[in-house]
């Protein structure tokens, strides 16, 4: 169990190995942008299963040797083995930094930040917020389209046509003043 001493577990001690690695610099920011499809859309569905375990089923839950990984608790951000990993990190080629900047701008735009293209504090804070692991942009193998995760992908019309019914009857001589009792779940 995670160690704690207070009754309400408020002093829960989380081993540092279980801490997600903070995003502090361009490299970790680049991994973040890559992981969530801002640099190149992620083929998310293909990534669900580790082929060695096939379709997940509690009857054939991965054997003991696979459980070792849980102990690692390694928090490498490398979700996807990006094929353009190159080892000459220190000499980024111009197209790569261009890709990084436009990815950064896209992230800043959808996150409601000012679109500076700079890895500024506000962007850093937004990247370190708790979030869902599903990529924001992913491909679909059938058509290789990039599916942005915006409402336009759903073709949703904004609900502007609705009249706002009030509960007081429209009939002027009516004596009703309809007020709903407090609605709680």
């Amino acid at each position: 169990e995670k160690l704690f001493h207070s009754r309400d577990h408020s002093d829960l001690q989380i081993p540092s190995s279980h801490q997600a690695e903070l995003i502090t610099d361009k490299d970790t920011a680049e991994l973040f942008l890559s992981r969530y499809g801002f640099i190149r859309p992620v083929n998310w569905e293909e990534l669900q299963f580790d082929e060695s375990t096939g379709i997940f089923n509690d009857e054939d839950f991965p054997g003991e040797e696979d459980l070792s990984g849980i102990q690692e608790g390694d928090s490498s951000l490398s979700r996807v083995d990006t094929d353009d990993d190159d080892d000459d990190e220190d000499s980024p080629n111009p197209t790569e930094s261009q890709a990084f900047i436009s990815a950064l701008r896209e992230f800043q735009k959808v996150s409601g930040l000012s679109v500076t293209g700079l890895f500024d504090d506000a962007t850093k804070a937004a990247m370190n917020k708790p979030r869902c692991g599903v990529p924001d942009k992913e491909t679909d193998d059938a058509t290789d389209e990039v599916h942005n995760s915006t409402s336009s992908a759903l073709g949703i019309n904004t609900a502007t046509s609705l009249t706002n019914n009030t509960d007081t009857s429209e009939d002027s001589n009516s004596t009703f003043s309809g007020v709903l009792n407090g609605s709680r779940r």
């Binding site: 708790p130 692991g133 949703i156 019914n165 009516s174």
Partner: protein
């Protein structure tokens, strides 16, 4: 294999069946909440999607795993045979697959709803289930599908646009109603004066919804089983509810089969005996001589102090003051409520007749359609040629309207989820 069926793009594909099975898998329990809490919170998350879509969800803890549509589990680091490791405490708290499974990072501090700090398991579960059902990340304030977690505000619910997004995939909620009525009551305002208030209720089989006209939706957490909110009426549903409200009478009646009940507002239960000494339930033929039973539905019209009972293709207009059928009745519904547009008429077997104080109009419901009855004042003033009590189609252009186009998000939930 099911993961690879059809296109996998958000917002265009969806489950093809409307009742989906889910399970919190045994090797995927969290170490932070009791198993009961985990299942209850996840059950509530499914129920919240069910309340705003035609989907029903049922927890299945018995079938072989391959028959379970949505599997959920907690894990840390490399987990549950999944290829996507979790990153430890902070940042990524969960992920999900379209038409598939949901994984929660148990290194996060998940908490039950409204318990202050930590990450609300309910909010995360609703978000991830949204993905499984086919919703992508949506960057709109208030959307539950925003990628980043927003600290839980109390009373979190699924907002209007997210409702429309899921209905875009699975359609609106449709269905017949047994009865629809505005329940009127006198209350004292904070200044001590007596005010009249009303709430709108839709009833179907053994459950009901309070409809909030002001916000165009049902009350959060509805439907509720009838016996929870209306003590003593038949638990499997009623045929009609009638509120007789005039200078001399203030009585709410529920009708079912050959009997009826009178409801005691003050004590929130049916009366066993009324001030006149009548025992309940009573036979309809006793309380309303000349009215057959069972009836299809009924409503009380405050404008002429009559109760309109509907059965088959006939309407029986009952004069409350005279305690007898009005002269010349019963008559054909088509004669009393003639079609304004030829052929555009429910004919008979009306499901519900409803006088709405919000719209100041009478509506007749049949199946998933409704007709509005020509109003005495406004409609006849605008178009004197309209027949008295004529049945208006949708603003005169198209035939009658669908109920779900005027009263929104009145959705069933699976009977096993009613108690959640």
């Amino acid at each position: 294999q099911k993961r690879h069926v059809g296109r996998r793009s958000w917002g265009n594909m969806a489950f093809s069946k409307m009742v989906l099975k889910w399970r919190l898998i045994g090797e995927g329990y969290s170490s932070q909440l009791t198993i009961q809490d985990q299942r209850h919170i996840i059950s509530l998350a499914f129920r919240m999607w069910s309340e705003v879509s035609p989907l029903d969800f049922v927890e299945d803890t018995f079938s072989p795993l391959e028959f379970v549509d949505i599997k959920l589990g907690f894990g840390t680091g490399r987990h549950l045979g999944c290829n996507q490791k979790f990153d430890g405490t902070g940042q990524e708290f969960a992920h999900a697959w379209f038409l598939g499974d949901v994984h929660f990072d148990d290194d996060e501090h998940f908490t039950a709803p409204n318990t202050g700090s930590g990450i609300s398991l309910l909010k995360v579960a609703v978000h991830e289930i949204g993905h499984v059902l086919g919703l992508p990340h949506i960057y709109r304030t208030g959307s539950i599908m925003q990628p980043s977690y927003l600290p839980q505000e109390s009373g979190f619910e699924i907002n209007w646009m997210d409702r429309k997004a899921i209905q875009h995939l699975y359609g609106d909620c449709k269905g017949q109603f047994n009865t629809v009525f505005d329940w009127i009551r006198k209350e004292r305002s904070q200044y001590g004066e007596v005010v009249i208030r009303f709430n709108t209720y839709f009833m179907r089989d053994g459950w009901y919804w309070l409809y909030e006209n002001r916000t165009n939706r049902t009350r959060y957490g509805d439907p509720v089983a009838l016996q929870v909110g209306w003590h003593g009426i038949p638990t499997d549903g009623v045929d009609a509810c009638v509120h007789v409200w005039n200078r001399n009478t203030d009585a709410v009646y529920f009708f079912k089969g050959t009997q009826y009940w009178r409801y005691d507002d003050d004590n929130d239960q049916v009366l066993t005996v009324d001030p006149e000494g009548h025992l309940y339930p009573r036979l309809i033929s006793e309380g309303f001589p000349g009215v057959p039973s069972p009836i299809d539905t009924a409503f009380y019209d405050r404008r002429d102090y009559h109760i309109y009972f509907f059965k088959g293709t006939y309407v029986y207009v009952f004069d409350v003051a005279a305690n007898s059928l009005a002269p010349g009745f019963p008559r054909k519904i088509t004669a009393v409520f003639p079609a304004v547009t030829s052929g555009d008429h429910p004919g008979g077997n009306i499901d519900a007749a409803y006088f709405s104080y919000t719209h100041n109009a009478v509506f007749l419901f049949k199946d998933t359609q409704f007709w509005r009855v020509v109003g005495r004042s406004r409609d006849r003033w605008r178009r004197p040629s309209l027949p008295r009590n004529g049945l208006l189609p949708r603003n005169g252009l198209l035939p009658h309207r669908k109920v779900e186009e005027q009263w929104f998000d009145i959705c069933n939930v699976h009977s096993s989820a009613l108690k959640v």
